[in-house]
Symmetry: C2
Subunit: 312 residues, 2 copies
């Protein structure tokens, strides 16, 4: 047990095109940081600092509270916690913001308690944060944020994961249009999805998953990018919610990106590119958004093998 | 050009559980054999011999005729052909019978002509046989029969393939209940499929494809078998058409099979097993069918790297 420690967990890209609810990948940055302190008094207090502090609730309304409570319960620990969250993953961007806070908290509290929980129990605790934030315990952000790499959640009941190291030498270009969403963004982004799809479309979507999985397994960025571009169900439905998505994607591919799609529920648009082309890809995407007077944030990062980690 | 030669192509297992219309794998046996002879007279004559000669049409009604015609057309060859098909892949069993005849013919005729066609053109010629036999040019039997290994057909328009060597050290146990199907068996097996599925089920099916693809890519039979068992759409619908499918599958898994599902459109039931357990798995499956007085054929074989090949 260490009475005080800090840990962080990264932003993530869920879906990666055709892998809706099935796959997510950890990014090198940004990372949510969490400082935890064990206290005798059996209460949990959550303070929030950092760039996006004003955009998430503090106290009991924060996912960190829910996750910390779950870890204490599973560990049968009677004391309490003082938690400070340094919120650096932008909320409501489709970059797994709540997943990063949840993963960092579950990891940090478990470490502080001397690791009473297994890795799977730690993940299940983090998923309570996702259940609280999104209404369902989807693991495609929290799992890669906790474990790093690319994580396939190939079964939910029971929960079954397959973790793979990400392909090396890929840059991930992320453009986040700064649009105002309704408060329940993830809910809205699910509402636009078709409830039922044709068998034919399912076959096309299954086909798309093949180059995605095989490209990641082989470390082949071109094949992976080909897979990213083969989402026939979710991207077409969600594209409407993101201003100038089609034009931005087209520009990214024309500038040499391997693949481009919506990150998680959006509105972030991600493109995979070689280190040589990533700045041109970013510029091409930026040009489109600027030409339509859409404010945006732009980030060039990489996939990360590393998930949640102790911070010095 | 060689005026006379013989070639063969193997039976195949399509779908492998969740990969409906997306994946097929070549088997070591049985193989259809084709002998072709170039003749000056511009006609094609097809004779059929072999174990299952009486179960397929001869002459213009045979897929070999259609495929040979297509190869001649693509090669712009003006002569004709005399073809003898030795039919050893049982028709209407779900083992890619027409795909094997088509692949062997396309391969043999192209070789006899001095290989004027590329590998992709040869495949497209073979697919004309599938279009003729099944009403649609599905490639999940003909492609692995021609190319060997496991072939993912991840896009049909344009046709895109990914060929992977099969995992080593797996035995494939195949029980074929000898039931009378209506003539259009593949048609019937497609009729029972749901036209539309829920998004939720699509996600489960996508999940199933992950261990299948990753298991094959890693050469991990256990993971591959886990994938084979995760078909939530096609197997449940087609299971009704196959007498005692559920009991047979249950017995195979209980006897130690890695996975078990329907081969292609059925009625063959295949199970993946280790070399140590395959005979017990076969016996367990046979016991079920016998206990319900269902006649069957039983075969233990392996996946094959080799597709169509010249025969001495």
């Amino acid at each position: 047990m260490r009475s005080e420690l800090a840990a962080s967990a990264p932003a993530t890209i869920a879906n990666l095109g055709p892998g809706f609810d099935v796959v997510g990948a950890a990014l090198e940055e940004p990372r949510d940081r969490v400082e935890v302190k064990l206290v005798a008094e059996p209460s949990i207090v959550v303070r929030v600092e950092g760039t996006y502090a004003s955009e998430v609730p503090s106290g009991e309304g924060n996912v960190c509270y829910v996750v910390a409570q779950e870890v204490l319960k599973r560990a049968e620990h009677r004391g309490g916690l003082r938690i400070t969250l340094f919120k650096e993953v932008p909320p409501a961007s489709g970059l797994g913001s709540s997943g990063a806070s949840s993963a960092a908290t579950a990891f940090a509290v478990n470490k502080a308690l001397g690791e009473p929980l297994t890795s799977m129990e730690t993940l299940l605790s983090a998923l309570e944060g996702e259940r609280y934030a999104a209404g369902a315990p989807h693991a495609d952000n929290a799992a890669p944020s906790l474990l790093g790499g690319v994580v396939f959640i190939y079964s939910y009941n029971p929960l079954k994961l397959l973790r793979v190291d990400p392909p090396q030498g890929i840059h991930v270009v992320i453009a986040t249009p700064l649009i105002r969403w309704a408060e329940k963004k993830t809910y809205l982004a699910r509402q636009v999805l078709p409830k039922r799809i044709s068998l034919k479309k399912m076959v096309k979507q299954l086909g798309g998953l093949v180059p995605l999985v095989a490209g990641i397994a082989r470390g082949d960025p071109k094949l992976m990018g080909e897979g990213v571009n083969m989402d026939f169900v979710v991207e077409p439905a969600r594209a409407k919610l993101i201003p100038r998505f089609k034009e931005t994607k087209k520009a990214a591919l024309k500038a040499g990106a391997y693949g481009c799609s919506i990150s998680g529920a959006g509105p972030s648009i991600f493109a995979l590119a070689s280190p040589q082309t990533s700045s041109s890809v970013a510029k091409a995407m930026a040009n489109v958004l600027e030409s339509f007077s859409i404010d945006y944030r732009m980030l060039i990062t990489k996939f990360s093998r590393e998930g949640a980690r102790i911070e010095g």
